[in-house]
Symmetry: C2
Subunit: 259 residues, 2 copies
């Protein structure tokens, strides 16, 4: 009888959760000539192939576009920073789809725009929410998404070219923390609401190297993380499937609750 009552209680818990309308949140910036791109990358360009009424009497519009793989909301495939590692079309779906945690470091990033997320930030998160599960997608919330698409605020500079690179200033993930996530927590992938998983002042991209030599991809320039809870998040992150690509435009969505 106790078992039956327990079952009944569990059912009463499961059924409303299953029926609940769990809203998907779009973590993607739209892509346009206003999108923030790396200072050395050409901006997103769109050309009109046709837009208007055709001779046959139906409306038709179609465009072409040209873009760097690593502009706007995008995925860095491991081969972006690690020779011989996976290209964007080779990243397994289980590194793109799965349970996620959201780690909020926006207070530290507000105090110091060159902040690097430390192992102790994750330890503090775990003290509150429990151990980051193996295979997690780890989403890092610096709060910098609120500056998009103002490059001066978002990147720390609106200069272009090498002068722009030299003036970059935004928070990122410390290489020690990147290594810790990869080796101690065996995460699937990592995402951030800045232009790079390494902080703006990085010259050696050590967090990229630490992750990508271990075949861990990164999602960059994501947004709307404030709409998600810290745990119990399910993410679907689907990049354009470019054969041999080092990355590419990414559409990433999430919702609270395990599907």
């Amino acid at each position: 009888m106790k078992q039956l009552l327990a079952a009944w209680g569990l059912l009463a818990f499961i059924l409303p959760a299953a029926a609940e309308d769990r809203r998907w949140v779009d973590l993607t910036h739209d892509l346009s000539s206003e999108s923030v791109f790396w200072p050395t990358a050409a901006p997103f360009r769109m050309t009109t192939d046709f837009a208007g009424m055709t001779e046959r009497g139906y409306y038709y519009s179609a465009y072409s576009f040209a873009t760097a793989e690593h502009g706007g909301t995008h995925l860095d495939a491991p081969v972006h920073f690690a020779k011989g590692r996976r290209s964007v079309d080779q990243v397994p779906l289980d590194q793109l789809i799965g349970d996620a945690v959201v780690v909020d470091v926006s207070a530290a990033a507000a105090r110091d725009r060159d902040y690097r997320i430390q192992v102790r930030d994750f330890q503090a998160w775990e003290a509150r929410y429990g151990r980051i599960p193996v295979g997690s997608i780890v989403l890092l919330r610096t709060g910098f998404s609120r500056y998009w698409p103002d490059a001066a605020d978002y990147l720390g500079t609106d200069l272009r070219g090498l002068a722009g690179v030299a003036a970059l200033s935004f928070p990122g993930l410390h290489e020690e923390a990147a290594t810790w996530l990869a080796t101690e927590r065996k995460i699937a992938s990592v995402g951030i609401d800045t232009a790079s998983i390494d902080y703006g002042k990085s010259r050696d991209f050590a967090a990229h190297v630490a992750l990508m030599t271990r075949n861990i991809p990164a999602f960059e320039n994501i947004t709307n993380l404030e709409q998600l809870p810290a745990t119990g998040v399910f993410v679907v992150a689907l990049p354009v499937k470019i054969r041999g690509g080092s990355g590419g435009p990414l559409r990433i969505v999430a919702r609270a609750g395990e599907p």
Copy 2:
């Protein structure tokens, strides 16, 4: 007591299903210069921005690419064929993510490569599997994906330009069936494993117009539908979020079982 036993029975059914490892299937062709594009569209072009060891001692590779919105596995947004309707960035997530049905017309398409899927094909499907639910994603399996990327077999021609358009020959959805899906079944979206939701010989793109005037998007050049059951399929179809785009490269995945 009867209720409790029923609850217990239901639990025994739910829990193993939830624990089961439901494999995601990638319904996306990879994108390269070999991808099948419409005869009048320029092929996919990729350029190397950098690939090799840097002076600072880390490996780095990055590429840029240029493409028509409607090449390879892609989404047609309603504005592609309907003035004032939604662009690709405006398509609601609930038309991109949700329950799907798979309708197999590969036998008819094998007999007649200009076959148009009829209302009676859906009625036959419903006689076997039940009524297509409101809000469904309807995936049409013609079997033509097996010809990819051989344009002569897949499109019916490897000619390019207007001569290629004139020689197109592949199956699609009849406009009456498109209207029926939109108005009688109120579907969310539709997908097909050919280059177009209209058959190759179409000159008025009537299925596109029927769907898109009603704000229903289409997924084209999808693949691997033979790996899915007819019902109980969950689809996530995420296009590149091009501001104002008439469509764009799509990554689409599916798995058996409701999440």
